[in-house]
Symmetry: C2
Subunit: 208 residues, 2 copies
DNA sequence: CCGCACGGAGAACAGTTGTTTACTGCATGG
DNA sequence: CCATGCAGTAAACAACTGTTCTCCGTGCGG
């Protein structure tokens, strides 16, 4: 199975990745709708016109970033939900996993949280699509569990959506926490765990 | 308690309001960080330099918009929580109230949802401050209710924050719903109600 | 091995941006 | 009633924007 991409295509993908990285950096302090094409090319160290070889517009770049930030997360998410732990342990692990992911990929999370309601239609749509996929995958995992007996698929999707939204809000909260102040991070984690726990309790008593 | 503002100050406030209105209109399709000062003055029909008589920067304008969008909402929110209805009726009324508010002030909601994680620090801070105030007010109302016996203030604040976040997410969901398709709006309302109901069930069984 | 396709460079385009400086006209307070 | 303060104007500034066109070097398919 070929690593055979040819020197040509390889270099192109490398440049493309440089665009994505540079853009992600610049987006730490502004929104996509204010990101200039020239600004990005300058950060990459390349001529403005080179941009068009890879993207039609900065909106296109944004969609690619959504893919990069969320595309690889699907196994992790449904994997976390599907573990056979006790409920509280599952919540602890989930929150810890989110904290870890935010620490490792802060720019990705910031980008998603920012552009989820951002000014660029296509990017909003791309994020919504991924979030819907997440919700549906979580729903599928929840359906396998014994606690879901008697639940309608519709209610399960509602619950899954609640969980997914909660995950992103938790991630966003970790982002705002001062990285030099571990106490603040702990506070965020504590609140997030209790929120999830309360939701899980609601789930347990939903029927009847 | 004078309406006596003088012709002078009155005209100034009028112009200032024109800035806010024009900006809110322009922000329907972009983020604050990409909003140009000239763009706003052009929409108002006034010279670019006139902007500085009212705001230091577009970020300042944004903070003023946060005040306008959220400042008047405090009585409405805690009022809704404090009604003595049955829990399900309270939820129905709350969701209906959100739907109504979104229909009447869509631009305000869009702005808040967008800039809550937007690219402008000061505006994010202003929104966070208002949301924290909401949460604290809701906590105070919840504390009065009999169902809160045995709850710590910390847990009540956690619950209040969950409710408040849920309200904004619901509002944002209403915003995305096609206004010409009342069925879609109903779907959003149904999901929102069930989410709130599940949280309320979790609340009822939180202790023990 | 050669010709072409293609990633990238460079220059030029008309518009736009935020900010400064100097100005005007008029409501207002003494 | 008059002098001052202040909302708004006008012109100019250098810097920046997205896009088009022309060009160059070279990896790759025939």
């Amino acid at each position: 199975m070929s690593h055979s991409l040819g020197v040509r295509q390889a270099q192109k993908q490398k440049t493309r990745q440089a665009f994505l990285d540079a853009a992600l950096g610049l987006l730490a302090e502004q929104s996509l709708s204010s990101l200039g094409l020239r600004e990005v090319t300058r950060a990459v160290g390349v001529a403005p016109t080179a941009f068009y070889r890879h993207f039609h517009s900065t909106a296109d770049l944004g969609v690619a970033l959504v893919e990069e930030a969320l595309g690889s997360l699907h196994p992790m998410i449904s994997g976390t939900v599907s573990t056979a732990d006790d409920s509280d342990q599952r919540i602890d692990r989930a929150v810890a996993l989110i904290a870890r992911h935010v620490r490792e990929h802060p720019a990705h999370i910031r980008f998603i949280a920012r552009e989820r309601n951002g000014g660029v239609q296509k990017v909003r749509a791309a994020i919504a699509e991924q979030m819907d996929r997440f919700a549906d995958e979580v729903r599928a995992e929840l359906a396998k569990q014994a606690e879901s007996d008697g639940w309608s698929d519709d209610d399960l999707l509602m619950l899954a959506g609640l969980y997914v939204d909660q995950m992103l809000m938790t991630a966003s909260a970790f982002l705002e926490a001062d990285p030099d102040d571990p106490a603040e991070e702990d506070r965020v984690a504590r609140v997030a765990r209790r929120r999830m726990r309360l939701i899980s309790i609601g789930r347990r008593h939903w029927l009847g």
